[in-house]
């Protein structure tokens, strides 16, 4: 932790994420208006003292909608990555520890999943389902575990041959204990890095889906659907597109900075 503080960029990422979490938790306090309250008389107002980021085509306060959108983005990012970490780690450990036909089966499954362009796979699945926030999270999670599976399998393969695992087997420790106590803590570092970087990716995917109208549905505010709504007015009301865009940029950047920082930190080759 102390070394994390020394890495300035990673620390900046951590601070930004902490700020975003606070905003999401305290959204009712941070917002200046009801994000859903329409005020057609004051529609498309430029940023001012009353409306920090201006108002949209229905007169809703853009700033407050962005504040509430933070909740959506973080939730989708964290839950989707949580699902992908869970699936990826479990499959990766099974594949790497047992080897043989189980490994072959899982790895060919990964190969098949990787054959589909992810975004089209998501689009296809979601067109059969009701587009809502829960489905978006699950689908992003279930289409992004392959890289992690490969990562965990690789780590597991090398750890399995270490002498401390051989020793644990000679001692007759139960396989569950070997997997959970001896192998898992040793593969968790790269998983953490990959997951942190993955949150940014998941947030981007959610924004893209919402932009296409397949994600979070209006009137609930999401940065993606705000961008989509704003594109029709881009010539007369730039603030509708710029502020949600900046919000996405900042959030993804924060997670990427933290992820890169963690990678430097947890990689034994880079620590002195």
């Amino acid at each position: 932790m102390r070394r994390l503080l020394r890495n300035k960029l990673a620390f900046a990422g951590l601070l930004m994420i902490a700020g975003l979490v606070v905003v999401a938790l305290l959204a009712p306090l941070a917002a200046t208006h009801d994000p859903l309250a329409q005020d057609v008389i004051h529609r498309l107002q430029p940023p001012s003292g009353a409306h920090l980021f201006g108002t949209d085509d229905l007169g809703r306060d853009v700033y407050s909608r962005i504040v509430y959108g933070t909740r959506v983005s973080l939730l989708v990012g964290v839950i989707a990555v949580g699902i992908s970490v869970l699936v990826g780690t479990v499959l990766g450990m099974i594949s790497g520890y047992w080897g043989r036909w189980v490994d072959t089966l899982i790895m060919r499954g990964v190969d098949i999943m990787l054959c589909f362009p992810t975004i089209f796979l998501i689009l296809m699945v979601i067109s059969f389902l009701e587009p809502n926030i829960a489905n978006v999270m699950v689908i992003i999670g279930l289409t992004s575990w392959m890289g992690l599976t490969r990562l965990v399998r690789g780590e597991c393969l090398s750890i399995r041959e270490r002498e401390y695992i051989l020793g644990a087997r000679v001692l007759g420790l139960p396989t569950s204990r070997i997997l959970l106590v001896h192998i898992l803590p040793n593969v968790i570092s790269p998983v953490l890095v990959s997951a942190t970087l993955g949150v940014g990716g998941a947030i981007l995917t959610e924004s893209a889906l919402s932009f296409l109208g397949l994600g979070v549905q209006p009137p609930t505010a999401s940065w993606g659907n705000m961008l989509a709504a704003g594109k029709d007015y881009i010539h007369m009301a730039w603030w509708l597109s710029v502020y949600p865009g900046v919000a996405i940029l900042v959030t993804v950047l924060a997670f990427n900075l933290l992820g890169e920082g963690l990678r430097d930190l947890l990689d034994p080759r880079s620590s002195s």
Partner: protein
């Protein structure tokens, strides 16, 4: 008299696999019809260079690998008759590099108590209580010459010699009858090696252990063992009482090994 641990006609091949469907590309014979018997109280040395199959044999005796041919017997009964936990109470092993044989993420206390817990389950049918396990771990540590304050340490906080002592304590936690030591000192500092060699002899006496010492170093094996087996390319080439093998080696390879020992420690 039935031997404690026997290996009968052990053969082990390693396959080189490749391609999409993991076809066999080639085969290397690591062990070729090796027979070995350990009687209770024996101290046997296995000498050979890399590729001689000595570590493969150790892995087969400890149950880490299964042989392709031949069988392993405990008191005359095949290894397959015993569970993994029971086998752990027969044969334990210590490895060459104590830095990699202890999980870096666990404290010495966890490393010892988890091993003790398995032993309790095996002998009493249930795990030991936290208090019992902690006390026993402390006793184990002092039996390998470390003070109980090391229970709180992580492996990276220990020196090489201390780590090897912890690894030995962990193996002893299972209360084995046979201890296999694979290059027990070759990764240690010079002034520490004698400490560990003496400790192994002390523990052998105190716990009536049967020792199988594996090394490429004739001096280490000669110091610890009463009986020597010289291995080359998966086959024993010479076997006999340590004194006889060292004084009047019959096989050329044994002579080559002896010639590499510096004069002043012969």
């Amino acid at each position: 008299m039935t031997s404690l641990l026997e290996a009968e006609d052990i053969t082990k091949d390693f396959h080189i696999e490749g391609g999409l469907f993991r076809r066999r590309r080639g085969t290397v014979r690591a062990l070729d019809r090796v027979t070995l018997a350990l009687n209770a109280g024996d101290s046997v040395g296995l000498v050979g260079e890399s590729g001689s199959g000595k570590t493969t044999l150790a892995k087969i005796l400890t149950g880490l690998l299964s042989p392709d041919g031949g069988r392993v017997l405990w008191e005359g009964r095949p290894a397959a008759d015993y569970s993994r936990a029971q086998w752990a109470g027969h044969v334990q092993m210590i490895f060459q590099d104590p830095s990699s044989s202890l999980n870096p993420k666990l404290t010495v206390r966890t490393l010892l108590t988890e091993a003790l817990d398995v032993k309790h389950r095996r002998t009493e049918g249930r795990g030991g209580s936290t208090g019992t396990l902690r006390d026993e771990a402390g006793v184990l540590l002092s039996s390998v010459g470390l003070s109980p304050e090391f229970l709180r340490s992580y492996p990276h906080q220990l020196s090489g010699g201390q780590k090897q002592r912890v690894a030995i304590a962990r193996a002893l936690a299972a209360e084995p009858r046979v201890l296999v030591a694979d290059e027990p000192v070759s990764a240690l500092d010079l002034s520490i090696q004698a400490q560990i060699l003496n400790l192994l002899l002390d523990l052998k006496d105190r716990y009536s252990l049967t020792l199988l010492v594996i090394s490429h170093d004739l001096a280490v094996v000669g110091y610890l063992a009463d009986r020597l087996i010289v291995m080359k390319e998966g086959r024993p080439v010479e076997e006999g009482p340590a004194g006889t093998v060292l004084d009047s080696p019959r096989h050329d390879y044994t002579r080559t090994l002896l010639a590499a020992v510096p004069g002043f420690i012969r």
